[in-house]
Amino acid sequence: MPTLPRARGPLSAALVADLRGDLREDGTSTGPADLTDPGLLEKAGPVGSGDEELALWVLYELHHHGFDDATATGGPDDLEHEWRPDLLTLRGRLERRLERRWRERVAAADLPTLPSGAEPADLARAFFALCDADTGAESVARFVQREADDDQLAEVLRQRSIYHVKEQDAAMWTLPRLPDTTKAHLLTIAADEYGNGRPDDLHAALWARGMRACGLDASYAAYVDGALPAVLEQNNLMTLLGLHRRLVPAALGHLAAFEVTSAVPSRRVVRGMERLGTPEPMVAYYREHMAADAVHEQVAVRDLVGSYVAEVPGSEDEVAFGAAVCLLAEAATATALLEHVRRGAAEDVA
């Protein structure tokens, strides 16, 4: 189980201190008396500094695995952290800011739209076209294929591990809120992701074997202290879409876009790893994704999104919003990550 991460600014510091139950010398908590104080957000580090991104990531983890070094209960009413009203209030504030930012970003990006009330084949064609749109960002997979050295690849894997240790989990929050036919299609995809009943084949387990073979830490959230703000934001977006019933169509659009943009890049990563002689268990993880996601993209677009849009007419715009969030968040992550690993390589030379 993970431990609380290192704070990155006033907001995440206040939250982490509160969860850890840090005490001052006089025996009172060092956390702010009131995490719902709006002034706390005003004092937070700017968006992109990682302060706000990390705070929301920590709040979301309370719904996943929690933290070993957090107290069992806390807050004004001494409740379990996951359901503390003050923490949910803070989470809600951060979520509204996050959603507003991404509504604006998606509107500004002017990506292709999805037709409303279209025939299934036309909807699928439009969805694939949307996922093929140029976001202007370089591809991490192409970088790994052609350019990365071993150290740069290791850093890419550390950053990607924030997601891969909980692969598919955020999308599963939608399951009980789906129409029955859509539920069945989500489970077709999830069955593969979770190993088809074989725990050793869980994609998160394949990932962990790959990480260990590369000499990296395979434990849950091991590298969160080094995670780029863009990586935390990309993960937060998936949880945001998954946890809110209002955002179910966006969560499905996100999942489908994620699958559509996975198989071919996985092939590029495999090529790069073969070039570098990366240990086989890690190559196997990406090879599995070439085949699995070639299936998942078809099922996700044609069946999952197709059935949902048929059951919930008028949901196309929100499905497209979720897909756009997926594409633009990956673009933001790719830009930040490639700048980060190339700078690291330059510093090594200097």
Binding site: T188, N196, R267, E297
Partner: protein, 72 residues
């Protein structure tokens, strides 16, 4: 009689087969898939044949190659 095998042809994409499937290739080699749904390559460009790896997208939709393969 058992349930008929369900196969679906995707536009500009693979053939989806529901349930476990064994494909015997041209060389007589047998390939087994135990996924709930399997995507079988139809375009010939996959590096994981007989399975699809998404490479059909790199061929270009509706291009001469795709047309020759009968996907448009």
């Amino acid at each position: 009689m058992s349930e008929p095998t369900q196969v679906r042809l995707c536009e500009d994409g693979p053939m989806l087969v529901r349930g476990e499937v064994v494909v015997e290739d041209e060389d007589g080699q047998r390939h087994v898939s135990t996924r709930p749904v399997t995507a079988v390559c139809r375009c010939g460009a996959s590096s994981l044949k007989p399975w699809c790896d998404g490479s059909h997208k790199l061929l270009g939709t509706g291009g001469p190659r795709a047309r020759r393969l009968g996907t448009v």
